[in-house]
Symmetry: C2
Subunit: 254 residues, 2 copies
C-alpha cells in the first residue's frame, strides 16, 4: 500500500541541446537537489527535452507542403508547412476546425498537432518545430538503462507530455512512454472492501504519475523538465505505455 | 515555482456511515499521520466517502424502472433499476453498448453510469447503490469551511473520482468539485523560455491533483480515501471545478 508520494523537481537544469546526455544532466540535477536515489524511484521527463536531446527539430524552411497539407491548413488556419509536418507524423486527422487539429499520431496518441508545437523552441533566425521523440518507449528504456547504471538502482522512467481531452477543459500530463513501471494496473477481480469483485478494472498509473509530475514541472518559462518521484510502488507487472492506447476499433468516440 | 509536492494518505480512517462528520474524521487522521497542516495544503477526498456521509444511497428494491430504462438495460445488459437510477442522475446518454453506459451526468460530467457503482457499498441484505454527492462543489466549500476552522489555515479541498476517457485505456483521477484552488490555470499569453507567447492555454490543475492523490488512494480494499497534499501553489485565481467541464456545444467529440 502506497503511503506517501513525493514529486521533486530537479533544480537548475541546463537548456538541452541536440546530443545532450540526459542521463548525466539528471545525475547532476539529482546531486544539486540532494536526493538519494533508490530502487523504485521514478524519473518523469518532459517530452520536450527528450525531443531536443534526440534532435527532433524540423526546419520549416525546408518543408514543401503537399496539396493535402494546404487544404487542411486553410481549414485550421496554420502555416501549411507546419501542417505538412503534423501530417507526416500522423496516421490521420481525427477532428479539425479553426485553430484546432487533432490527429492520430503515428504511435497511436490522439492529440493536437501530433505533439508538435513551436513554444520553447529557439528560433536561431530560422523557423524550427520540434517533433515527439522517434520512439518514446525506446527513449525510456535507454534512459532507464543509463540511470540504473549510474545510480546502481532499478528506477522507473516516464516521458510525459500534456494532452487536451474530450469533455473537459484544460490539458493534463500523460505518459508517452515508460520503462520499469506498470503503465496500466489491472484490478480485475480484486475484491472490494466487502469481498465482492470490483467493477473498476484498470488504472492508468503512468498517466497519473505523469499528471502528478506535471504539477511540479509547470510550463514554459518555469522550466523544470525532470521530476523525481519517490514512494510509488505496485505489485502489478511492468507494462509499456503502449498499453495506455486504446485501439481505434475499440474506441466509442471516433 | 513549485519545487516539491508530497501526497500523504491519512492512515486508518474509519468506514464512513451516513451523517459522519468528515471534518472530524480528517482531523483525527491528520493527527494519526503526524502531519502539521498549514495554509495552502490541499485535502483530496474520495467521492465515495463524501457520498456515504451525505447518505446518497438508493435502495434498488424501491426503484421502479421506466420503459426507457428497460430499453437501455437491454442494450447495456444491466439491472433495469440500476439503469433507472443512472438515467435519473443524467441529462442524457452519450454512448451505450454491452456493459458500457456513458452519460452526461446532470452536473455535466461525461462519465460511465453517472458515477454510480456498487463496489464498496455494504449490502445490508438489500441492494443499495451510491450516487455522486448532490453538489460536489458545495460539499467542497462546506468541508473547506470546517477544515479551515479546525486547522486555523486556508486549505484547499478536492472531491475526486476515477473516470475512463476516450482514446486511452484505464481510469484516472479527476476532480468533481474543489474549493480554495484554481481548478483550471490559464497560461494564455505567458511568455515561453524565449519570450514568445505560449500556445498551450489552460492546465487542469485540479484534475492533476486528483490524479496524483488517486495514486495514493489506491482502489477498493486498499481504502485510503483522504490524501493530504503539500507543496502545490499557484498565483492563479481560485476557480471551481465547474470550469473543467467543457460545454457540449464546444466539444468536438459529441
Amino acid at each position: 500500500m502506497v503511503k506517501s508520494i513525493t514529486c521533486t523537481a530537479l533544480p537548475d537544469l541546463p537548456l538541452v541541446e541536440p546530443g545532450a546526455d540526459l542521463v548525466e544532466i539528471i545525475v547532476d540535477g539529482v546531486a544539486r537537489a540532494g536526493i538519494g536515489v533508490g530502487g523504485g524511484d521514478i524519473f518523469v521527463i518532459a517530452q520536450k527535452i527528450v525531443s531536443k536531446a534526440e534532435n527532433r527539430y524540423v526546419d520549416l524552411d525546408e518543408v514543401k507542403p503537399s496539396p493535402q497539407a494546404r487544404e487542411w491548413a486553410a481549414i485550421v488556419g496554420k502555416d501549411p508547412r507546419h501542417v505538412e509536418v503534423v501530417l507526416s507524423e500522423s496516421n490521420g486527422v481525427v477532428r479539425a476546425r479553426r485553430n484546432v487539429m487533432i490527429v492520430e499520431h503515428r504511435l497511436g496518441f490522439v492529440m493536437a498537432n501530433a505533439g508538435i508545437d513551436e513554444s520553447n523552441v529557439a528560433q536561431d533566425g530560422g523557423h524550427r518545430v520540434l517533433l515527439l521523440p522517434e520512439n518514446p518507449e525506446a527513449s525510456c528504456a535507454r534512459l532507464k538503462r543509463g540511470l540504473d547504471r549510474r545510480f546502481g538502482a532499478d528506477v522507473g522512467v516516464i516521458v510525459n507530455d500534456s494532452f487536451g481531452r474530450p469533455f473537459r477543459n484544460g490539458v493534463v500530463g500523460v505518459a508517452l512512454g515508460c520503462a520499469g513501471i506498470p503503465a496500466l494496473e489491472s484490478r480485475i477481480g480484486a475484491p472490494d472492501l466487502f469481498g465482492r469483485p470490483m467493477q473498476v478494472t484498470e488504472i492508468a498509473v503512468a498517466d497519473e504519475l505523469a499528471a502528478a509530475a506535471s504539477l511540479v514541472m509547470g510550463q514554459a518559462a518555469e522550466g523544470q523538465p525532470v521530476v523525481h518521484v519517490r514512494g510509488y510502488s505496485s505489485p502489478a507487472p511492468r507494462l509499456d505505455a503502449a498499453a495506455l492506447i486504446r485501439p481505434r476499433e475499440r474506441d466509442m468516440f471516433r
